[in-house]
């Protein structure tokens, strides 16, 4: 099994005087090309972990290795280029730029990387958008399209630069159930097809079932992790129902 993201003894604390330990000695390896769901109750540190993996936030201590490269030190600003080239982000509140059309939003990462996109990239963007089902919206502005369409746009934007890893934080959390599942379907389908690694935070256990691996965080620790295929879907269901994941300290 190839590992793409490795964290060792990773901790994160907030505050100078009164320190809140949000992540406590996280050690885990994310498998290349797989879909890992990070679940856990609200406030357990899922978003914090994801933001650290996405180089948007810095760990307080411990090791972070992405694709063999050590990211344990340095500033968030030092990794702008890496985020642009190799990471894709999809957030709960789809964060599109209202000043840009759907197509332009999708192309923004290309712009930032290389300047004006040439024809081939336009075609690629349009193909991606039609695969995701938003090519007819290309000239509309974010304010003119629905929440589901906005999130599809964010997915296309996350994928345009062929990232090594896509990080998604409750990408369907702001959508109604039906739309949410449709968006999820598109996203997981696309990412599987491209062979991209997907790490998704969700508190929806039903969504977690679609993942290949599940990591459950409770109170800043990994309380358990498993491979869905190995456990079998039925057992995973019962595992996910069991919410008693308690630490003794």
């Amino acid at each position: 099994m190839a590992e793409i993201v490795v964290v060792k003894d990773l901790t994160k604390s907030y505050g100078q005087l009164v320190k809140t330990l949000v992540l406590k000695n996280i050690t885990y390896s994310f498998e290349k090309g797989s879909f890992t769901a990070v679940i856990g109750p609200s406030g357990s540190g899922k978003s914090t972990l994801l933001n650290i993996l996405g180089l948007l936030e810095r760990p307080t201590s411990g090791q972070l290795i992405i694709d063999g490269q050590d990211f344990s030190r340095g500033e968030v600003n030092d990794y702008s280029e890496y985020r642009n080239r190799h990471l894709g982000f999809i957030f709960q509140f789809h964060y599109l730029l209202p000043e840009f059309t759907v197509l332009e939003n999708v192309l923004l990462p290309v712009w930032i990387e290389a300047g004006r996109p040439e024809g081939a990239i336009y075609r690629k963007a349009l193909e991606l958008m039609s695969a995701i089902g938003i090519s007819q919206l290309k000239d509309k502005y974010p304010a003119e399209i629905s929440g589901g369409e906005q999130q599809r746009t964010a997915i296309a934007r996350a994928l345009i630069n062929d990232p090594r890893i896509v990080l998604a934080d409750e990408p369907t959390g702001n959508l109604d159930r039906e739309t949410g599942f449709a968006v999820l379907e598109v996203m997981t389908g696309m990412i599987r097809e491209l062979g991209t690694t997907l790490i998704m935070v969700t508190h929806d256990r039903e969504i977690a079932l679609r993942a290949e691996r599940v990591v459950e965080l409770v109170d800043g620790r990994i309380c358990r992790s498993f491979v869905v295929k190995e456990e079998g879907v039925e057992r995973v269901k019962t595992l996910l129902e069991d919410r008693r994941c308690v630490f003794s300290d």
Binding site: S47, N51, G54, L56, E57, V76, N77, S80, E81, R83, N84, R85, F89, F91, F93, Y95, L96, L97, P98, E99, F100, L108, P109, W111, I112, E113, G115, R116, R157
Partner: protein, 402 residues
Amino acid sequence: MIIRPYELYIAFRFLVKGRFQTLLIFGGVAMGVAVQFFLNSLIGGLQVSLVERTVGTSPHIIMLPREAYPTSILAESGQILDYRKAPVVSDREILQWEQYLEWLKKQSGLKAICPVASGQGFIERNGISVAVAIKGVDPAQGAVIYKFNKNLSSGQALLSGESVIVGLNVAEKFQLQPGDRLFIRNDRGSGAFFTVSGIIDLGSAPANSIVFMSLERGQKFLSLTGINMIEVQILDVFKAEKLASAWRNEFSRVNIESWQERNRELLTALRSQSTSSNLIQFFILFSISLGIASVLGISAIQKSRQLGILKAIGVDNRGAARIFLIQGLTIGLSGSLTGIIVGYALSIFFTEVLGAATFDLKLEAANFIVPAILAVVISSLASLSPARKAARLTPIEVIRYG
């Protein structure tokens, strides 16, 4: 500073989409530059016209015989020699005047150097006797200083032998026509007949009471062996005082006066005009910069969400800062350019359409270059603080808290 294309792309998009705010600051800059350009041209034109009217057809610097200086009435022994001796004497003529003329001819920046025999005369005609100023001048140099050809209202500018050019006031008083003969008496009671060759209008009553004749004729008429004045016109009128004071250091035996000294009120008026115009311009600049700073500052706060996303997907701190610097610079440049055009149009409208000025506006590059450069600098400076804010913002602030 290397500007990356995406910085321009995003900055321009922010400007275009923030229509109202953009127009607001753009308009502010354009208006500021236009008003300053117009004001500078107006005041510049006014000053040039005032100065031109005052000193255009008169010497800018004159050399006179030394002013009264004290003489000793004591003998070397300390005894009083002569009670009746005047305690001061003054030279009637410039001693060794050719030497000054030669020296002046070597100086640069001078337009005309005219030796003058100056004094008083009395015209008697039809029972009236009126005092006039007599100026015997070098015909060629005098023609430059007094612009004989331009200011001649009738006749021709001929100064030789008994031919004289008379000022308009004199001509009107005695109903003189070119070709007329007149008798001028000097202050010692003798006199001579002269022929009017031309009548000249120099724009002011004192100047129009002059009778010009040739230098030789003037010397003879005033019983001078040399001359008692050198009149100089220079290329840049505003340098007169500086030149005069330099010459004063050079020569102590003549008295040197610049037009500024002889026109104190005008000079004060010009100065206070410039001061008030500078003050107005300062406040214009001040309010524009406040406006730009606040509007760009607000826009930076409004755009922090966008900046957070942009930073998450790869814009670095410098890029984020430059997005705002570019906005400031763009507004400064385009606003200035528009301001120059509007200011020009305003000036043309003012003079051509309204016909509001009796003088030409001084439409020169310096009048808009300074305000335009200042506007660009100020716009850029005003965008520094939002740029710094943009650079400091971390993507996580936005992603976590919206």
